[in-house]
């Protein structure tokens, strides 16, 4: 068995493809590309493949990660070319790396960077820095049973102003803590006077571990 890690972008209309549908899509692309995808044993064999950190529906990305197992070795560049030939519009493999023992697992991802484009809203540098100076940023989090107030401030590693309709965010991502950029926008609308957003476009730029190291 040989393991590989793939980085891919998900743009255009494919941002509406859900995580589960993406898993099925990839298992078909591997088949079309005739790559030696490994399967689990048992009654209903399924491909040995996992897509790192699920991306929310409606968000584009240039840094999604996928680990996959093959029955035998294939040249990394060859994998990339063959997959891209059989990919639907909007999804593109950018990097392929053979995984060695000791390489970090996908589960070590703990930060993600986003570009946030605002429509029908204006923001100033000052307002952004005032927002980030607050001791706590509290939002109401609804669970199935109750509503509780949580402080999301510790999960915002960076929030910066790019232009009056564009922001940069670095947020906690992964199994320990997970903050979505739309939740931050919601909090901003609550805390910043006169700031309202009609619509926005979210784009994931990068995912790293706690020490800011990329996984590919």
């Amino acid at each position: 068995m040989v393991k590989y890690r793939l980085e891919f972008s998900k743009t255009g209309e494919t941002k509406f493809v859900s995580h589960l549908d993406l898993v099925r899509l990839f298992s078909r692309v591997f088949k079309r590309a005739e790559l030696p995808l490994a399967y689990s044993e048992g009654f209903n064999p399924h491909p040995k493949m996992s897509i790192g950190i699920p991306l929310s529906v409606g968000v584009t990305s240039e840094a999604e990660l996928l680990d996959v197992e093959f029955y035998n070795e294939v040249e990394a560049e060859d994998i990339k070319v063959r997959l891209n030939e059989k990919m639907p519009m909007g999804i593109l493999i950018s990097k392929v790396k053979k995984l060695e023992q000791g390489d970090a697992k996908l589960s070590t991802v703990s930060k993600a960077q986003y570009n946030v484009k605002l429509f029908g809203a204006e923001i100033t540098e000052e307002k952004v820095s005032d927002f980030m100076k607050k001791a706590a940023i509290e939002i109401e989090k609804k669970t199935k049973r109750s509503e509780k107030v949580v402080d999301i401030k510790p999960d915002i590693f960076a929030l910066s102003y790019i232009s009056e309709d564009e922001l940069f965010m670095e947020l906690a991502t992964g199994s320990n803590a997970n903050l979505k950029p739309d939740v931050v926008l919601e909090a901003m609308q609550k805390y910043i006077d006169g700031f309202g957003v009609e619509d926005y476009a979210l784009h994931r730029i990068k995912m790293t571990d706690a020490t800011d190291r990329e996984l590919i």
Binding site: E13, F16, D21, L25, S27, R28, K31, R32, P45, P88
Partner: protein, 610 residues
């Protein structure tokens, strides 16, 4: 168009994005004809339809034609579209449907008619054919329900009858010539009258007797044929078949490779419209099919493949085909499914083939509860067939068996209904006859009943359908007859079946009802949760049409039927003789045992009926 923002708000947005793998995108400025292929149901249903895959491929193979797909937006999406003023659009280029040269609907079931009217409305295309201007698209229809096109006569510019692979290209050719000629809109409809299989409703007049039956149905144009003959493909090995299927992002109803092995059916079950209208039987050879299978495996990456036909086990070279398919699929982890297996030639060998990769449930369709009634409908299956097949299934490790029956069949009595319960008990006994350690622990027998709907071009096209009350009483009766807890019973909505029955044998006067129903908000009537009986009753009242005229009466053989101007090849004499034999409980042998002279050979030339 502010689609992006809307898609963030609706359920299952991938229904509307259309950039799936193998979808065809052409520049509208580089083609001469744009065809919007419309399926009047939601994406995951429409995308499962094999005919659409074939015709999409056929049209897009033509360099100067661009065919794009259109589905009925789900209720949430329609609401958003109407709010934002977004007209019905095609998936590939997101163009308004109104811009296309042709807007073609496939008619798969009567209860989708309301969606057609609603989609035209959402597209901003005048609903009535007579109101369409020179620059409007031509609205056309095909598919099984086009064999009784009359309920849609006021909306549709022309119908294409029968198999579409040849006729569609002929219509496209006529369009090229017409466009060059610069003639007015009506001239195109006149031109296509010369193509066999074309029905243009506006070139026919209907008059009625005092009792509401048809007095006369006559062409009002010199080129309009008195009888319109359906089209069939004679050479099944050389007819076009897609070597690529679009691979959807979302899971669709039939999310797999489908191989069409033959058209038609040798059986002649008397309730079955498909068994009559798709005659004669024409098979594809295993070589052809294995070639498609290989190409489709490579081009789709699908993990499942299924064989498509009206009765899989009647394919003469089934063993050769399934052996060849298993060779292609097994090591690629592709599961093979063989639907529509008949009980009387179901074998252990066949079953093992189906389950080699993955084991799913088995469904059998005895259709009626007693031998007498099975003979009436010419199902030609015995109790022994069913019990033997069930026994094989249980021995092979299956625990789930589904049994399909029909309710409300002609001559049906309480005894026949009770027979359904008795039969399911006997199937249960077969399970317990299998040694404990050998059988599947999860036993589940499901009995399902649908309500019989008499359809045009069947021997039962003259019979009265059961009413809602009758059907519901029968459902309660059967429910009480089924005593075992291991047998679960479910049934179809009787109101829905009755409404289907009205439209199945309806005439032109129903166009007005459809118009009224659309105004009242009718849509997705094939979906239990959206079908509204009271709405339809209101629509019939508004249109001043009695629904029961169409289904709650026996018709005389002498009555002019609304679909009499359509020729499917099977003669009326044959249908009458079959109906008479049904009354006497006599069976008719299948077409391989003996030619019963249904008329299709006379109509289409010999050498068919493979």
């Amino acid at each position: 168009m502010n689609l992006d923002r809307i898609l963030k708000r609706v359920q299952k947005p991938t229904r509307y994005i259309g950039s799936e793998y193998n979808s065809v995108h052409k520049d509208k400025n580089e083609v001469d004809i744009r065809f919007a292929f419309c399926f009047p149901d939601v994406y995951e249903v429409g995308m499962s339809h094999l005919g659409m895959k074939i015709l999409y491929h056929l049209l897009n193979e033509q360099k100067d034609i661009c065919c794009e797909r259109v589905f009925a937006p789900w209720v949430d999406m329609e609401e958003e579209m109407r709010k934002e003023g977004i007209p019905l659009f095609s998936l590939e280029s997101k163009s308004p449907v109104r811009e296309f040269d042709f807007v073609g609907f496939t008619l798969q079931y009567e209860m989708s008619f309301s969606n057609i009217i609603n989609m035209l409305d959402l597209a901003g295309i005048p609903l009535l054919s007579e109101d369409r201007g020179e620059d409007e698209p031509f609205v056309c229809c095909g598919g099984p329900c086009a064999y009784n096109p009359e309920p849609l006569a006021d909306f549709v510019d022309f119908f294409m009858l029968g198999e579409g692979e040849e006729i569609m290209l002929e219509v496209m050719q006529a369009h090229r010539e017409w466009k060059k000629s610069g003639e007015p809109r009506k001239a195109f409809l006149e031109r296509i009258l010369k193509i066999e299989g074309i029905y243009v409703p506006c070139f026919y007049d209907v008059s009625y007797n005092d009792d509401g039956t048809i007095k006369e149905f006559e062409p009002n144009h010199k080129d309009a044929p008195k009888k319109i003959k359906k089209r069939i493909i004679k050479d099944m090995d050389n007819v076009i078949y897609p070597d690529k299927f679009i691979v959807p992002f979302m899971e669709i109803v039939h999310d797999r490779i489908m191989l069409e092995v033959f058209r038609g059916c040798i059986r002649g079950c008397r309730f079955c419209q498909a068994g009559m209208i798709y005659r004669p039987v024409r098979e594809k050879t295993p070589e052809t099919l294995l070639d498609y299978a290989k190409k489709l495996i490579d081009s789709t990456g699908y993990e499942e493949m299924s064989i498509s036909s009206l009765s899989t086990s009647d394919y003469t070279k089934l063993k050769e085909l399934t052996d060849g398919l298993l060779e292609l699929t097994e090591n690629k982890k592709i599961s093979l499914s063989l639907p529509s297996l008949r009980l009387d030639n179901f074998s252990m060998e066949l079953m093992q083939k189906v389950q080699k990769v993955r084991k799913s449930g088995l469904t059998f369709a005895p259709e009626a509860g007693t031998q007498r009634l099975r003979d009436v409908i010419n199902k030609g299956i015995t109790e022994e067939d069913l019990l033997r097949a069930a026994s094989i299934a249980f021995l092979g490790g299956y625990g789930g068996v589904k049994l399909y029956f029909m309710m409300g069949l002609p001559t049906e009595t309480r005894e026949d209904l009770a027979g359904i319960a008795r039969l399911s008990e006997k199937v249960l006994e077969q399970y317990f006859a299998v040694p404990k350690e050998q059988r599947n622990k999860n036993l589940k027998i499901t009995v399902s009943t649908s309500s019989f709907v008499p359809k045009p071009f069947t021997p039962f096209q003259w019979v009265r359908q059961n009413g809602v009350k009758e059907l519901e009483e029968k459902q309660v009766f059967l429910k009480n007859e089924i005593k075992s807890k291991k047998v679960s019973y479910n049934w179809h909505d009787a109101q829905l079946s009755v409404m289907e029955g009205v439209f199945a044998r309806g005439d032109r006067r129903l166009s007005k009802v459809l118009l009224c129903a659309q105004k009242l908000g009718a849509k997705f009537d094939g979906w239990h949760e959206y079908f509204d009986w009271n709405l339809w009753m209101q629509a019939f009242a508004d249109a001043e049409v009695d629904p029961y005229f169409y289904n709650l009466r026996d018709r005389e053989y002498s009555e002019i039927l609304p679909w009499d101007h359509i020729d499917v090849g099977v003669s009326k004499e044959f249908l009458i003789s079959e109906n008479e034999k049904a009354k006497r409980g006599e069976v008719t042998p299948n077409c391989r045992e003996k030619c019963n002279g249904c008329g299709v050979i006379k109509g289409f030339g010999g050498g068919l009926c493979g």
